[in-house]
Subunit: 231 residues, 4 copies
């Protein structure tokens, strides 16, 4: 039987980016790393400080939510991660943080408009969900948070392999990517985007969005079929 | 006779979190650690820089304000700590900082509304006291600051074991907890909450509060009888 | 044949100032160092993290855009640098960052007015370009970004050896200088100026500009014929 | 003949607080240390980076502005320091920085009102001067900046041993104290005060000042005849 060492190490290293990048304090936030073939993901244990974290303390969970490796209780947000792995085929990592500017946009209940190329390099307009209903919160809060994200993407017609971040109203950001490292990269990018848009609208509240042809150009040069960014 | 070594070490370590977490500069701020059985608390000496602090320099004071251990003068805010230990049965640590966002909300004289789950995870709406009266300031400023906090909690019907933070109008934050470490944790959390609410209201000034059922859910999953956060 | 070691080292060291000064995260931003005699410049490779950078990884490009040294693909912004070296005779380094306050002013599409001596010490009012046209974006995006900067300077009658920074609308800052180190110095200065003007206009939205005689005095004491700043 | 070693070391150590406390970048800002008996002060050399600074590089100047020790050119702001030592009897150190919040209040041309006890612990309302006249700038800019500060204090009836900080309109903060270390302490305090007031007025633009009896209490407990703060 596997001890999921590589998967736990990937999850551990990606989790340690959260304090390094200033995306959450103390025990807040969590990253998971998904192994599609094995159908399991490694996730941060609940309420453990980043100072005390190690690959040994990661918890491995299957897609029914059963713990398959580890002695600690997994993150209280585990069911949200689980729904995202089930709903968004092709992703390999999920990150949740409480980074201040992204959390503020989530608390404000506002979509983040594309006002610059830093944003266009990485994402479209970033949606903010509605509040979960009282019924959903009472039924299965974390699982329904995952469903809310998946349904928001479906109703907006968004492709989760293209747009890899969302704000949950009144809560904070969830991001994902092809692996755990990419998901936490997107969390840091989202914070930077949210900070820049915040400053921009304070300077010029009537600011309009970037022209579509510039948005498209930046996306295409980094992610399109003729992409020429990177090695 | 005890030299209160453990208590002084707890107080020292909790005080050192203040500069580490960016909650005050130079000599500002103070944390105390309370030993209920002995009826004494260890507190930062007045006007000593964090760079020069040690467990040896902590001052131990009883609930009449008498120094029972140490050669230095205790924090000028000692009487405020003393009143909180007398008024809020069950707490084991008190922290006072000058962290900028919490101080700004205190200077603005505004309660901090619950706009997100980061806040709901830790607290209800955070009250800001009224200004102390001139009479109270002249009589016994620091002691009356403690009374003001206790009376504000009483008049609002708040439970100090549930809501563990307050803003003193025109002054700054006081927080507490089951021990010194928890009280300074609450000071860092309060600063983060105040920062996020500040940003949120700049983005969306007409923002309404989080639905009560989400606030309750976040509190309950972390602190309720069926709590499932942490180990 | 030269391996451009000194030039690559200058470019490498100037690039490392970007993360050190907090001007961009991950792989964002780029600095180049120009050798006028050889007609080539060394520039950051595209999409390489600052943690992984070395002088060995720099790419040397001539003024036709041909790689003359190095195995990696140069920065996707290489053509913008190239146009600036061709258009602004006498400059020896170019920097592009995504620093948050400068990016916000660029996203807001606003010129940065001279409100203080920190600004006057280094620059005049900092122009923000118009958006590139759709035609220019489709034709040759990065090269046309360089042309946009050069044309903006020409139409405003600005001297690029005097004013060494600009904001590209919806994108971010480009700065330059007599060498690579100076260009990244100007990028850090620009961020500081943009931050100060942002705060100033939040405090006093009706703020008027600094009197011309103070602006001139600060420029002259640092850069004029009778300059007496520095050694 | 003295080599002013102690004085230069005091000036050097106080200057190094500027980058450590984030009060200025690169070569900006300067601190001097005054020896009243000798009638000289040690000051930062002009345009030298903090990374390259040492006690050996400090410049010692007398009250006629003559260099009495050192090979480098003194700070371009030397004449402002000189006027302050001549005008404000009893001070032993002067600091000038470009810290962003203090610079922003100076650029906004606004006095900083006392909205909290952090401010009241250290100062009264902090005045912002008028702009220097064109005549004064042309005559002797730095010397007239010193005169402007001294005249502002005189016309407001302020005591420079009580209020030890000012904002020069469109320029930035000047602070002083009984020695060089105290003057740079006041520069850091001023930045913190300016940041808190900025945040406060964003939260509550109609904020009124702190009651006079609280302002007085905080000043008196720290600096009055019956002060009980510190050791």
């Amino acid at each position: 039987m596997s001890d999921y060492k590589t998967l736990r190490e990937q999850a551990f290293e990606a989790n340690m980016e959260i304090p390094k990048r200033g995306l959450a304090i103390y025990t807040w936030g969590n990253v998971s790393a998904f192994d599609k073939t094995a159908g399991v993901f490694a996730i941060k244990p609940s309420g453990v400080s980043y100072d005390d974290l190690s690959a040994e303390k990661m918890v491995v969970v299957d897609l029914e939510g059963k713990i398959v490796w580890g002695n600690l209780r997994p993150s209280s947000d585990t069911d949200t991660h689980l729904v995202l792995y089930k709903s968004f085929s092709g992703i390999g990592g999920v990150t949740h943080t409480h980074s201040p500017f992204a959390a503020a946009w989530a608390q404000a209940g506002k979509n983040v408009p594309v006002l610059g190329t830093t944003h266009a390099d990485h994402a479209e307009e970033i949606p903010c969900t509605k509040f979960l209903t009282e019924e959903a919160v009472k039924k299965a809060y974390e699982l329904e948070t995952g469903n809310l994200i998946a349904e928001t993407f479906k109703s907006l017609g968004k492709n989760p392999l293209h747009l890899q971040m969302i704000l949950v109203a009144g809560h904070g950001p969830f991001t994902w990517g092809s692996d755990a490292a990419k998901s936490v990269y997107h969390a840091a990018v989202l914070e930077e985007i949210c900070k820049m848009v915040y400053f921009t609208l304070q300077i010029n509240p009537d600011n309009s969005v970037l022209p579509a042809y510039i948005i498209n150009k930046h996306w295409e040069r980094k992610h399109g079929s003729g992409a020429y960014y990177g090695q």
